[in-house]
Subunit: 436 residues, 2 copies
C-alpha cells in the first residue's frame, strides 16, 4: 500500500466515524483533492484533473480576484444588514442590472435552498394560497418544504408528499411524450399545468404558483422546448399564481446564448432564485422579485438572515459578477460551448450508446441508452464512463431521473483545448465500454 | 446637512429602491458601519462604538487568525464534501471533542436555519413522527417550517400554524407562572410537556420530539430553572421523542460557566444545532447527533449541502474553535461576565425601571418594567435606552416577547473596562429616562 492510499484510507476511516453516511462521495475510487485553480483540480499526489462539471466555482476555482476581494472585506468588516453599508446596495444594484424590469427588489441569503425557501414564502404571502405546481424530476433544495417540491430526490420522504404539491410532467423532448420533432411540444407540455389549474378551480382552491429550474439540471440537463414557459406562465398568471424561476444551475452566462435560463424561453419570471455560482463557493443565495411582491411580504414581520447580505457576502457577490462581465465569460461559454457540443455530437455516429447530445454553452448533457428505439437507460454504462474518465483525469458526473445522463457543466474559464481533451477522454471511455 | 448625513441619505435611498423593506435597520438613527475590530465597530466618521450585543463575531470582529485561515484556504481549494479532504474530518473531530458522547456524527450546512431544518428532518425520520413540542417565544429560523415552530416571530404567518406544532409555556421565572423563589419551578414548567404527550397518546399520535434554545435569547435572555430540561427530556424520551438543543445563541463558552447551554441544565441532547458564532461571520451551521439517529437518516437518500462542509467552511470553523480554546475565551467570559453582571445589578436599587437582571457570562438580560408588582413591560423605555446608548457609543439591543429586555451578548474579547463603560453608559441612559 502506497503512502497516498494510506492517507486516503485514514481519511475514509475518520469520515465514517464523524460524518453522516448520508453525505456521499463521488466516484468508485473517491478523490482526495488538495488544490484548485480555475478549471483544474489537483489530488494529493499532484495529479491534475480537468473539472468538467463543477458549476459552483463559476469564474474558476480559487479565482484570485474573488479571493482578494473576500480577504480585504473580511479584514475590514463582516457584519449584517441591520446596519447601512454600501456593499449591500452596490451588489443589489449590479445584480438587478442583469435582470429585466420589474425584477428590482433583492433579498440575500446563504444558499439556493434558503433562496427557494424564501421564494415560496413570498409567493404564498402574495397570493394567499399554497398550492404549487412543480416539475417531475425537479430538485430545489434540502429543507423539508423543498424536499416536498423536489420529486428528483425523495418521493415525499419523512412526511409524505403534501396535498398542496402538484407534479406535472418534465418537458423532455428526448424521452417524454412530445419529441423534439414536434413544433408544438412546448405548448403540449404546458397543457397539464392548465389541467391542474382547472382542477384547483373546480375545488375552489387558489393557486400559489409554479416553480421550475429554467433548465432542469438534475432532471437530465434539459432545455425546454420553444414556447413552453411562455404558455405555462400565461396559464399560471391567469389563475393568479406567481412564476418562480430557479436559476441556481443556470445563471450568469452559463448557457452562452443567455445570461439567465429564462431568457431562452423569452419570459420574465415574478421571482428569480439564485445560488451556487453567484458566490463562486462562498455561501450566497439571492432572491430577486418585483416591488409588488416585496410589498405583500412587508407585513410588519422582519425577515432577517444572519449572514445573508453581509458585507463579505455582498463584496464577494459583486466581485464574481464583475469578473463575469469583465472577462466576457458569457461570450466565452457560447464560443467554447459550441465547440464542445460539436465535439460531443461527433461521437454520436460512432457509439450507439449515445442517445442524445443536448444543451447550450457550458450546460450540456449526453444521454446514454442501451437501445435508441426503446431508450432503455444505460445507467450502469454512464457510471462506468464517468469513473473511467475520472481515472484518466477528466471529471464529469451523471444525472437525470435514470442516472444515465452525462452532466457537463465546467467552470467558465474552461477553454477549447479543455473541450478537446474532454471529448477525447469521453471517446476513449466509450470505446472501452464497447469492448468490455 | 453634513457630508456624512448626505452619504447616509444616499445609502438609505438606494436601500429603499433595491432591498426589501422586510429587512429592517437597527436604531432610530441607522448606523453606517465601515470597520470592525474585535469588540469595536467604527462608523463612516471614524467614531468608535463598543459592541455589546453582536454574538456572531464570537472571537471578535475581523479576528486576524480567522481572516488568515480563510484567506489561505480560499486561495488553495474551496470545494465540497463529495471529495475527501482533511479539513472536514479535522473540523468534525475538534467539534465533537467539545461535546459529550454519544454526540459524534456531524452534518455541516450554511446557517442556523439550515441546521434547525436538518435537525427536524433527522428527528422525523428517526421517530417516524411529526408532532413537535416547542416553546412559546422561541425563534429557530426563517424558513417556512421554522416559522411554524417560532412563536416569537410570526404567529403562523402565511400558512397558519400546523396542527403538528404544540406550544408550551416559556419557563420564565421572572414573568411566568412559577417564579425564581419556587425551588420546584423547573419541574412545574416541565408539566405542560407531559400533558401534551398525554394528549398525543390519547389521540394515538407519536411524538417526534422537543426543541428549545438551551437559553432562550429572543425569548428574553432567559436561563431555565434548575431541573427543567432534565424533566422535559425524561418525558420526551419516555414517549419515544428526540430532544433537540438549539445552541445557535449560546455555544462556545458564551455562558462562561458552560461551553454549551445544555450543560447548565445537566442534560445531553440527542441533536445539537449550531450556527451564528461558529463561523465568526462566515456562513456555517452544524448539526451533531448520535450514530443511531444518523443511521436512521441514512435511508439511501443523499443529503448534500453545496457549501456546507466545504474546505473553506471547515477551515474557518476549526480556526474559530481553536481561538476559543487557545485564548481561553470561556474562562474570560466567566470572569468578565460576572463583573458585568455585578455592575448591572448595582443599578437595580437606583432605577425602579429595572425589574430583573439575569444571565450568565456574556449572555445577559436586563428587563425593564413600569411597575415591579404588575411587571408592566417598559418597551418604549427599553427602545429609548438602547437608542440613547447608541448615541453615546455603546451598542446593545432589545428582545423578549414584549421587547422590553435589554440584550447584552458581546463578542467574547469584551473586557472589564468595556464592561464598566457599558454599565456607565446604561446608567446615564437610565438617568435620562427618569428625567424625561
Amino acid at each position: 500500500m502506497s503512502v497516498n492510499e494510506d492517507s486516503t484510507g485514514v481519511l475514509l476511516a475518520a469520515r465514517r466515524r464523524l460524518i453522516s453516511p448520508s453525505l456521499t462521495l463521488s466516484y468508485r475510487q473517491p478523490l482526495h483533492i488538495v488544490r484548485g485553480t480555475m478549471q483544474y483540480l489537483f489530488d494529493q499526489t499532484g495529479r491534475r484533473y480537468l473539472d468538467g462539471y463543477n458549476n459552483v466555482p463559476h469564474v474558476g476555482h480559487c479565482h484570485p480576484e474573488v479571493v482578494s476581494a473576500a480577504t480585504k472585506q473580511m479584514a475590514l468588516l463582516n457584519t449584517n444588514t441591520r446596519y447601512l453599508h454600501e456593499t449591500l446596495e452596490q451588489y443589489a444594484e449590479s445584480l438587478t442590472s442583469t435582470l429585466p424590469e420589474p425584477l428590482r427588489m433583492c433579498f440575500f441569503v446563504n444558499s439556493g435552498s434558503e433562496a427557494n425557501e424564501l421564494a415560496l414564502r413570498l409567493a404564498r404571502v402574495h397570493t394567499q394560497s399554497t398550492d404549487l405546481i412543480v416539475l417531475n424530476g425537479a430538485y430545489h433544495g434540502n429543507t423539508t418544504t423543498l424536499t416536498h417540491i423536489s420529486p428528483y430526490k425523495a418521493d415525499g420522504l419523512e412526511s409524505g408528499r403534501p396535498s398542496w404539491v402538484h407534479i406535472v410532467a418534465l418537458p423532455d423532448v428526448y424521452r417524454g411524450e412530445h419529441k423534439s420533432d414536434d413544433p408544438r411540444a412546448g405548448e403540449k407540455y404546458a397543457q397539464p399545468v392548465g389541467e391542474c389549474i382547472a382542477q384547483l378551480e373546480s375545488q375552489r382552491k387558489g393557486l400559489c404558483g409554479y416553480i421550475a429550474e429554467s433548465c432542469p439540471s438534475v432532471g437530465g440537463q434539459l432545455l425546454f422546448p420553444e414556447g413552453y414557459l411562455a404558455a405555462v406562465y400565461a396559464k399560471v398568471r391567469g389563475a393568479g399564481g406567481v412564476c418562480i424561476a430557479d436559476e441556481v444551475q443556470t445563471a450568469y452566462g452559463r448557457l452562452g446564448e443567455y445570461f439567465y435560463g429564462f431568457e431562452q424561453q423569452r419570459v420574465v419570471p415574478d421571482i428569480v432564485v439564485l445560488g451556487k455560482p453567484i458566490g463562486n463557493g462562498y455561501p450566497i443565495g439571492a432572491v430577486v422579485t418585483t416591488a409588488e411582491i416585496a410589498r405583500s411580504f412587508d407585513n410588519g414581520q422582519e425577515f432577517f438572515s444572519t449572514f445573508g447580505g453581509s458585507t463579505v457576502s455582498c463584496t464577494v457577490g459583486a466581485a464574481v459578477l464583475e469578473i463575469v462581465n469583465q472577462d466576457r465569460l458569457q461570450t466565452h461559454a457560447k464560443k467554447v460551448g459550441s465547440h464542445l457540443l460539436a465535439g460531443l455530437r461527433s461521437l454520436i455516429d460512432r457509439y450507439s450508446l449515445i442517445g442524445d447530445v443536448r444543451g447550450s454553452g457550458f450546460f450540456l448533457g449526453v444521454e446514454l441508452v442501451r437501445n435508441r428505439d426503446t431508450l432503455e437507460p444505460a445507467a450502469q454504462e454512464a457510471t462506468d464512463v464517468v469513473n473511467r474518465m475520472r481515472d484518466t483525469g477528466v471529471l464529469i458526473g451523471t444525472d437525470g431521473p435514470f442516472h444515465n445522463v452525462l452532466k457537463i457543466r465546467p467552470p467558465m474559464p474552461f477553454n477549447a483545448e479543455d473541450a478537446d481533451a474532454l471529448v477525447t477522454c469521453l471517446d476513449d471511455a466509450l470505446a472501452r465500454s464497447e469492448i468490455s
